[in-house]
Subunit: 177 residues, 2 copies
Amino acid sequence: MKQKLKLSKVYALLEPGPVVLVSTAYHGREDIMTMSWHTMLEFDPPMVGCVISNQNFSFDLLKASKTCVINIPTVTLAKKVVGCGNCSGAEVDKFEQFELTRMAAELVDAPLIDECFANLECRVVDSSLVSKYSFFILEVVKAWIDPTASYPKTMHHQGFGQFMIAGKRIQLKSNMR
Amino acid sequence: MKQKLKLSKVYALLEPGPVVLVSTAYHGREDIMTMSWHTMLEFDPPMVGCVISNQNFSFDLLKASKTCVINIPTVTLAKKVVGCGNCSGAEVDKFEQFELTRMAAELVDAPLIDECFANLECRVVDSSLVSKYSFFILEVVKAWIDPTASYPKTMHHQGFGQFMIAGKRIQLKSNMR
């Protein structure tokens, strides 16, 4: 069972740079897109900037619906993550094809992907750089986390199907948020 | 000795989300800033978007000089990375304080940090989101890499001095660049 995560804690999930699955929905059509080009822009409310190319079906659904969910997978989902990145939602029902489970979001239309340990419901708040860089600015309006995922082994893409998997943790004394 | 890295390969260094050290210089002043809020925006020529807050001395140097270097450290530099993030270049000479070595860049004024395994010389190409989000868009114009760094153990910040260190690599069949 997922639990609500404080919005002020969202940045710590995305700042390390994991591959994410972006789910979108609009008028009965859905898509899941594998994405690595994202950055935090603000802590609280959490703002995220990300590149979703207009060559992706997700681009159309995101532009039309103005909402999406950022789902964070671990390495146990590696094959599904790569699978979602290698076909188009215009042709394939990715939830069915990759046996992923829809969960209803609370504030947006796009579904959460249940198998991912964290799910961030997002609204598009700034499209000023979409035409130039396919860069969407999102606000995370609701966040969910699997409370049992104490050390999720996230995937970090290094190009052409090579991934670095989250290794050990270290703690240093720091005032940096 | 660093070697030139093809610009088309730069994205694979930043896409996994490592903490980087941004070096800047302007009229005899220098700074080094620890940064995690960055994303690729384009493959080739490589474009990078990043947040450098106007509360940082680096913001002033970057705005004035329009250039910087993105240096990628490994965990062997962890204390220096955190040190650079916990003081201001307005008060401290960080190269001296943290015993880091300047190397002359080829195309920009900011110095490379020799101890980092990769160095990306950058020019600011779009400042349209600087006032709203402190978001700079950079083009990487020259890239350098330590050819002996076959599996650099990059650092990935999870907040408040906690870092995930790059773990093992996996390779999956994929058409995703």
